[in-house]
C-alpha cells in the first residue's frame, strides 16, 4: 500500500467523524444544570429563612449538594445523569463530588491507601491544583492592588 500522508489523512478522517448534536446537547445540559442550580438556590433560601448567616449558608448549601452528588454516584445513578446531561451535571459542584467519589469507588480493590486515597483525586486533582494555584495568584494581585 502506498504511504499515507498524515496531514491529509487527518483531514480526511475529520470528515468521517460524526458531529454531535450540539443544540440538543446544550438544551439538555442547560435544563439539568439549571435544575441543580435551582436546588442550590432553594437550599440557600431555606437556610437563610431559618436564620443562618451568609457565611454559614455558603457552607451548608455546598455540603448538601456535595453529599447528594456523592450519594447518587454511590447509587450508580450519577453516571447515567452525566451521560444524558453532559456538562449540565459535570460543571455544578455535584459533578465535582462525582469526579472524586467515582475513582474512590473504582480503585477500592487496590486497597484504601494505594487505591481509594491515592487515586481519589485522579480526575479532580488538576482542578484542585490549578484552582488553588490561581486563587493564590488572584489573592496576591488583590493584595497589591488594594494595599
Amino acid at each position: 500500500m502506498k504511504n499515507i500522508n498524515n496531514k491529509e489523512y487527518s483531514k480526511y478522517v475529520d470528515k468521517k467523524v460524526p458531529k454531535p448534536d450540539y443544540l440538543k446537547n446544550s438544551i439538555k445540559a442547560f435544563f439539568v444544570g439549571g435544575l441543580i442550580c435551582i436546588l442550590g438556590q432553594w437550599l440557600t433560601n431555606y437556610f437563610t429563612s431559618k436564620g443562618l448567616s451568609k457565611g454559614d449558608v455558603a457552607t451548608a448549601t455546598p455540603i448538601i449538594l456535595v453529599f447528594l452528588g456523592a450519594f447518587f454516584t454511590g447509587l450508580g445513578l450519577y453516571d447515567k445523569l452525566g451521560k444524558f446531561a453532559g456538562a449540565g451535571s459535570i460543571v455544578p459542584i455535584t459533578g465535582f463530588a462525582n469526579s472524586i467519589v467515582s475513582p474512590a469507588m473504582e480503585y477500592k480493590r487496590e486497597g484504601y491507601v494505594f487505591g481509594v486515597a491515592a487515586r481519589m483525586f485522579n480526575i479532580a486533582g488538576p482542578v484542585l491544583v490549578y484552582g488553588y494555584g490561581s486563587s493564590v495568584i488572584y489573592a496576591l494581585i488583590y493584595y497589591l492592588v488594594t494595599k
Binding site: 500500500m1 454516584t73 469507588m105
Partner: protein, 342 residues
C-alpha cells in the same frame, strides 16, 4: 531456507492445521446483541462471581478454553501450548488464567489484534511439527479496559461518538495437527502502520490503514483474489474504520464493499445498544470469530474467510505523552476444504 514463506509478509502452511474446536463466552450486553445464539455461554453478571473485574476476565478465558475442550472431550493436560493475550497491563488476565491451567504458556500482546496473532503463531508451531494441539485464546472485559484506558465506571461523562465499546468476552480455538478443518492455510503478518492519529477515542481511524495494508499484502503475496473468499473479516474497525478501510482498499483497486464484515459491527446493534461506533477489544474478534464465523465455516455455509484482527498499540502513557497510535493487523486465512488450494 524459508520454504513456507510466500512474498513479503505471508507464509503458506504446508501441513495446514485444523481448528478442531472453539469456545466462547460473553457478557450480558453482548448476550443481548445480534449474535447471541452463536455464543456458548452468556454470563448474567459482569463480575462472574469474582471479586474484581480482572479476576472475572481471567475466568472468562478459562471458561472459553473449557468450553472448547469439552466439545471434543479432549483433556486439558494433553494440550502442548497456550497462546494467550488480553488488553491489560502485563496481560494479567492471560497470565493468571494460565497459572491455573498449568500448560506451557506463550503470553502475547497485540492489543485487539491478539486473536489472529495467537492463531498465526499457534498454527505455525503446529505446522512446524512442534506441537499437536495448541490453544489460542484472548479476552477483554469492558470494566477492566475502562479503568485502565479511560475513566472510572461511575464517572458522569459522555463518550464521544467515535468511541467503541470494549467487548466483555473471550474466545478460544484449539488448533490441531489432525482434523478435518476448518484449516488455517495462510498467515499474513502485519507491519505497524501509524497514520498519525492521536485520538484514543477514534481507534478505527488509527487501525484501518494497517488493516488495508495487511489485506492488500495478503492478496499480493498469495495471488488470491476476492473471489476466493466469502468474507474478509476485520476485528474491530467499527463504523468509521470500516468506511476508511473500504476507501483505502478501493484506491488500491480492491472493492471490499460486498465481502467485508467487521466483528465490532456484528456483535452489537449500535443503535439499540448505544455502543456508538461499535465493539472493540481482544474479546471482540475472539468471540465473533470463534462463535459466529466458525459456526458458518463448520456448517459449510461459507468456505473461506480471511480473519484480520486489528490492534491499536498505544497505552495511556503514550497517549498522555502525545504519541500517535500505531496500528497493526494480522491476517489468517481459514478455509473448510484443502481441495482448492492455491
Amino acid at each position: 531456507m524459508a520454504i513456507k514463506k510466500m512474498g513479503a509478509q505471508t507464509v503458506k502452511l504446508l501441513n495446514p492445521p485444523s481448528i478442531v474446536s472453539t469456545g466462547t463466552i460473553v457478557g450480558p450486553k453482548e448476550g443481548e446483541g445480534p449474535l447471541k445464539e452463536y455464543f456458548d455461554v452468556i454470563i448474567e453478571d459482569d463480575l462472574f462471581g469474582e471479586d474484581s473485574w480482572e479476576k472475572s476476565e481471567s475466568k472468562l478465558q478459562k471458561e472459553a478454553i473449557k468450553n472448547a475442550l469439552d466439545k471434543i472431550s479432549f483433556p486439558l493436560n494433553k494440550i502442548d501450548y497456550i497462546f494467550g493475550g488480553d488488553l491489560l497491563n502485563q496481560i494479567i488476565a492471560s497470565g493468571f488464567s494460565a497459572r491455573d491451567l498449568q500448560i506451557p504458556f506463550f503470553g502475547l500482546y497485540g492489543a485487539c489484534s491478539t486473536m489472529s496473532e495467537s492463531l498465526s503463531l499457534g498454527a505455525m508451531i503446529v505446522d512446524g511439527g512442534y506441537a499437536d494441539k495448541v490453544i489460542c485464546v484472548t479476552s477483554s472485559h469492558f470494566s477492566t479496559a475502562e479503568r485502565q484506558f479511560r475513566f472510572p465506571l461511575e464517572l458522569g461523562n459522555q463518550r464521544p461518538l467515535t468511541a467503541q465499546w470494549t467487548v466483555t468476552g473471550s474466545g478460544a480455538s484449539i488448533v490441531s495437527s489432525e482434523g478435518n478443518g476448518p484449516y488455517i492455510t495462510h498467515i499474513t503478518t502485519g507491519k505497524i502502520i501509524d497514520p498519525g492519529i492521536k485520538d484514543a477515542n477514534n481507534m478505527g481511524a488509527a487501525m484501518a490503514p494497517a488493516a488495508a495494508d495487511t489485506i492488500i499484502s495478503h492478496f499480493k503475496d498469495t495471488g488470491f483474489t476476492l473471489d476466493d473468499y466469502d468474507y474478509i473479516v476485520t476485528g474491530d474497525l467499527a463504523t468509521i474504520g470500516k468506511e476508511i478501510l473500504l476507501d483505502l482498499a478501493k484506491e488500491e483497486g480492491l472493492d471490499l464493499t460486498e465481502k467485508h464484515r467487521d466483528c465490532g459491527l456484528e456483535i452489537f446493534n449500535n443503535e439499540k445498544q448505544d455502543t456508538h461506533a461499535g465493539g472493540s477489544g481482544c474479546g471482540c474478534s475472539a468471540s465473533v470469530f470463534n462463535g459466529y464465523f466458525y459456526n458458518l465455516l463448520e456448517n459449510g455455509k461459507i468456505n473461506r474467510i480471511l480473519l484480520v484482527s486489528t490492534g491499536a498499540l498505544h497505552s495511556p502513557t503514550s497517549a498522555q505523552q502525545g504519541e500517535s497510535i500505531p496500528g497493526i493487523a494480522h491476517a489468517v486465512s481459514v478455509c473448510t476444504s484443502l481441495g482448492k488450494e492455491g
